[in-house]
Subunit: 189 residues, 2 copies
């Protein structure tokens, strides 16, 4: 096996391990272990540890990738025809996503404490992208002008946390979101 | 020492232990231990364990007392002259309170999982009292008619969790609450 093939394989393994880890740790619970990740990714535990020396390093990598993916999704919406719908839909997407990924969702938006510099940077990237979506929605008159990113992001984190921790009924979650969105709407409603 | 005196002393000890435990576990962190509770309450560790055989039992008792106290505060507000102010002020009070009591606040409103029947019942009592405040505020035209308790409580839990976990800046927290309150206001604003 040539060096290049080995590198390609290594990259494929890394990607597969991250996919599986996001799923396994996202579900949380007893079965969420590095061993389970190796088993489901179809690689040896030694391979996992070669890529990610500790569980913390693996989780960091999952977090960073998750932040980056969400940021890309937000950025893609910056070209959307309806800036208001883009903002509110992404808000709803983040919250709904958190509900199904309790364990990672927790670390995801609450990023702080033991989270590495790289994950914090990725989290800040997502925050900036949400800020850009917000600004665009405000210019389009779909979000009140006096709402600033810190409080909007606090609402996003709050709703995500509530959805993730209490496994809220989807209908109740949507009604709670509708109230928040009415609060974010310009005064004339 | 007579039996009655002993009983009175025991009750005083129990109350003091609970006061201290609420404070110690509310602050969270490394120092939050039953030993620390005993030290600050000025009793021996054996006395703490006589009243509360395990740390879990002690925490349950703290939780129950906290729910009961909040419920009493909510019920007292049912006679307030301004039902709208009573509802919004209590909402704000719960959220602000959670921010300073990270560890207990977490268990407090997210009550579920390992929480005992007694604590769940106390939590439900608080929820009912919030429901009564909400209904009164709606009758007074201060909260939109179509907001129901499940989503209002979800918002309360969400904002409390966000305030507790991220130690949100007070100003940002208040601005986020203002957005939620605008969402809860009747449509004519």
């Amino acid at each position: 096996m040539g060096e290049r093939t080995q590198r390609v394989d290594a990259r494929a393994n890394r990607g597969r391990i991250l996919d599986v880890a996001e799923d396994v740790f996202g579900r949380g619970g007893e079965a969420a272990s590095t061993e389970e990740v190796a088993r489901l990714a179809g690689v040896g535990i030694a391979t996992v540890f070669r890529h990610f020396p500790t569980k913390a390093v693996l989780l960091q990598a999952v977090l960073v990738r998750r932040f980056d993916r969400l940021r890309s999704q937000a950025e893609a919406l910056l070209g959307a025809a309806d800036p208001g719908a883009a903002f509110y839909d992404f808000f709803r997407h983040l919250v709904a996503d958190a509900a199904t990924k309790i364990a990672i969702g927790d670390a995801l938006l609450g990023a702080g404490g033991d989270v590495s510099g790289e994950a914090i940077e990725a989290g800040n990237g997502l925050r900036r992208a949400v800020g850009a979506l917000l600004e665009r929605a405000q210019r389009a008159g779909a979000v009140r002008d006096d709402a600033e990113l810190p409080e909007v992001y606090a609402l996003l984190v709050a709703m995500s946390r509530a959805a993730a921790h209490r496994s809220l009924d989807d209908e109740v979650r949507d009604r709670a979101l509708a109230i928040v969105f009415d609060g974010l709407a310009p005064a004339t409603r």
